[in-house]
Structures are given as structure tokens and as C-alpha cells.
């Protein structure tokens, strides 16, 4: 059985974008690191403790991922570039099976 392919598009503050093909179970932060996407620091490596993989999730993408957990909600308060309604920690955003394109915007700074 092969997982259906989805994609994550990373949009930089200058508007430039890159799209990476992923399979279900992929995580936004790890995908960014593995592909050398600038602007994702991820100092804690995915323990939801540093808020340096902060991204803004585009409206149409929210349906493809699980909602914000209590711990993520707490940690988003530490996001250096300011929390918005659509703020997420990349390390906590996992691509669900059957997801379409997930679009995230990278904030201007992480620390």
C-alpha cells in the first residue's frame, strides 16, 4: 500500500515559495529542515518547547491537519513574531492521510 501524496508549500516573508511533495505523516518542521527551508529554526527539535518553528497556516489548509493542542497553544504565546489566529508550531503540524496542499507562511523572525 502506498500513501497518497500531498504537498507542503512554504512562503517566505519576501513572497518566494517552495513546494515539497510529502506523504501522510510528514511534519511541517521536519520537512522544512530536511529541505533546507530558511526561517525554521526548530531549536528544540520538535518537543514543542521553543516556538522557533512558528508558521502561519493558510486558511484552506486548516482542514488537512489536527487542531492546536493545549501544549502547543501555551507555547505559541512565545512566538517571537507575534501570534495570530492561524499561528501554528511547524513541529506539531502533521499531514493527515488524503490531505491536499498545505500552505504555510514563514514569519519574519523566530527569535
Amino acid at each position: 500500500m502506498t500513501s497518497a501524496t500531498s504537498q507542503i508549500t512554504f512562503i517566505q516573508p519576501d513572497g518566494s515559495a517552495r513546494t515539497i511533495a510529502v506523504v501522510a505523516g510528514a511534519n511541517v518542521m521536519l520537512t522544512a529542515l530536511a529541505n533546507g527551508i530558511a526561517g525554521i529554526v526548530a531549536e528544540c527539535g520538535g518537543a514543542a518547547m521553543c516556538a522557533t518553528c512558528h508558521v502561519y497556516l493558510n486558511e484552506g489548509s486548516a482542514a488537512f491537519v489536527a487542531p492546536v493542542s493545549e501544549v502547543e497553544n501555551e507555547m505559541l504565546e512565545s512566538a517571537a513574531s507575534g501570534r495570530r489566529e492561524n499561528s501554528r508550531l511547524g513541529c506539531q503540524v502533521v499531514v493527515q492521510p488524503g490531505a491536499g496542499e498545505i500552505v504555510v507562511q514563514i514569519p519574519s523572525h523566530q527569535v
Binding site: L33, E43, A47, E70, S78
Partner: protein, 409 residues
Amino acid sequence: MSSTLAPDAALMSAPNAPVTDFDPYADAVLDDPYPHYERLRELGPIFYLSRYGAYGLARHAEIDSVLRDSATFCSSAGVGLANFHVETPWRKPSIILEADPPLHGRTRKVVAGLLAPANINKLRATMEREAELLVDRVLAKGHIDAVPDLCAAFPLKVFADAVGIPRDGREEFLLPYGDMVFNAFGPVNERFKVCLDKAQGAIAWIAEVCKRENLTHDGLGAQLYAAADQGLLDPEEAPMLVRTLLSAGLDTTVFTLCNAMMCFAREPEQWATLHAQPTMARQALEEVLRFESTFHSFYRTTTREVEVAGVALPNEQKICVFIGSANRDPRRWPDAHKFDVNRKANGNLAFGTGVHGCAGQMIARLEGEVLLAALARRVKSLRLESAPVIHYNNSVRGYDSMPMSLVAA
């Protein structure tokens, strides 16, 4: 270390994995674990520790996926060798370290908020002032024992102040208490028993200083009591979590600083790099954590029958994760055995990862960065004057004594 494939009949629980009688807790192993770790990694992605009846993982990839799957590889059965589901724990289990989701999320949320960058970055200026004063003192001395004079002195001041506990008794009781807690991440061996006996005074002292009336009004300890006032914690949980801060946050940071000083004493050109560019302190600290991890190993327990690296494991099976080895795995790190402050060491497993990743890692990084940066600005060179004395513990590695000389810039 000898490694043989046991006959199937002799070890029904480990039919598919290489078997080793390796003892991770032997003094000789703790003296220099890295050649042993290399042999463990070469045994295969998973192996069986026959002395302890536990499976072991020593490569980065397998450890990373086990730590990220807290539903299958749980903590509520204890993070040492003893299985709390079938054995009596040595103390009442921690409501954060030894808890599983969803129970774990409730306490983790409070502690994560407390130790999040937004809250702890307020401590930076105070820590920077204290670091300058401490560096003044050690430079005035020139010849120091870097453990008590520097590496223990800093967290005993700035972290204990941040929690808000009284001054008296810190040196005597805080480190022995943590020593006991970290011994419990291994087997209940002679080392742990001796330590537990010696820590009785510390246990009583810790219980006392964790009481609300003994804490400062605005420290991390008081903030936990405030969370209880808001109904985020039960009243009796606040002192338990203050205790968690004290047990988890001292020895580890002290040993991390010890390991940093040892790395730089052994590699003068790496110190020269940092001295030339003190703003590299945070990155350098990350490489210290990778290269000489403070925490070396602990356990998870399976919650169901599950296959790991092709080996079928039963339910309630203990698995030892050697994170100190994962951080030296050449499959993950090019030139894994080279200490290089220019390396991007992010993604190392020194603080674990996943929902049980160290909640105090950002304050640990802050303390380490602040002290290393202050040293980098002011110290031209440092030298080990005689052999350091290792501190033997079942899960954390550091030193009791490090005679060093420092030369001012």
C-alpha cells in the same frame, strides 16, 4: 563487551535481535562510553541487553521515532528499568515525567508555559549580571576547581534564585537530590541504593523549600502555586512540580557546563574560535550537548505488541534508549566524533524529543549560553591542570572535580 546470538530456546523474548551482556552502568563504561556505543550501534538497529531483560536502541533514527510515539512507548511505567505497572515505584510517580497523555498534557501545559521563552527570557539580564560577577571571581583566582567554583556555582545561584528557594542548604542538598533522581533512570543497583540512603536529608530539605511560604513571591515556584490558585493544577500538585524543577534543573545544567569546559579544555582551537566570536555561544553549547550529552540513557515501555526495526516486541517491554549514542551516530552526524562549534547540532537528542522532551531545555540553554558567552569574552585560554574526577551516575554524565587554570584575555 561480548556479543553473541543466543539460541532461540534460551531467550524466547529476544528471538530476532542480537543479544549482548553489555552493562551500561559499569564504572569502566561510564569512564568512556563511546567505544561501547559504537559496538552497540554496529550490533544492529535494535539489540537485547541480557543482564537487564530490556531491548536497547543506540542509533539516532530508531530512538527518534520511539521518542516521538509516546502512545506506543510510554513513560507511565517509569523511565528507569523498573516497570511501575507491575513493580512498586521507589517514590510516588512524577505527574509529568512518569505520566502519559492525556493526563500528561494537563501538567505539561502548565510547566511548558512556565518555562517557555516568553517567560524565561525575562531572566536573561539577571543571569548575564551574575555570569559577569562569577567570571570576575574565577579569573581573579586563576587556578580553580571548575566544578564547584564555576559549573555548580552558576546554576546554584541563577536557577535556584529563579525558582525562588532560600539560599541556605543549596550546595549541601540540591545536587545530591538530583543525583538520586537521575540514578533512578537506570536499574535499582548498588549505586542507586547508596545514593538514596545518603539523600534522606536532601529529601526532607526539598519538601520544606517547596512549600509556598518558603518561596519568593514572583519566582517560578510561586508561579506554579498561582497556577493552582487558577485551578490549572490541584493544590497538592504545585509543590510536586516545584520539586520537579529542582530535581530536573540543577545537576543536569551543572554537568552540561562541566562537559562544555572539558570539551574546550581538550580542544584549544575550538575555544579560540568561540573566544574570537562569543556570539557563537548558543550554537557552541548545542554542539557540547550533542558531543558530550549530559543525559545518556533512559527507558520507555511498550503499551502493546509492536515491531521495532523488524523485531516483534511484547507488550510491557522495557526499551533502553541510548541518546548519548544517537548523538554520535555517524548515520546522522558527519564526523560524529569531532567536536566542532561550527556544526549545526540542532536536532540532537540530548534533551529527548516528542511530548516528553525536556521541558526545561530553554532555560538550560539560556544558562549555558549566558555563562559560555561571558567566559568567551573574558577568558583567552583554559587548561586542565590534572585529571578530572568523573561523577558516576546511572543516567547523567559529569564531573566532581576539574582542576583548571584560566588566562584572562
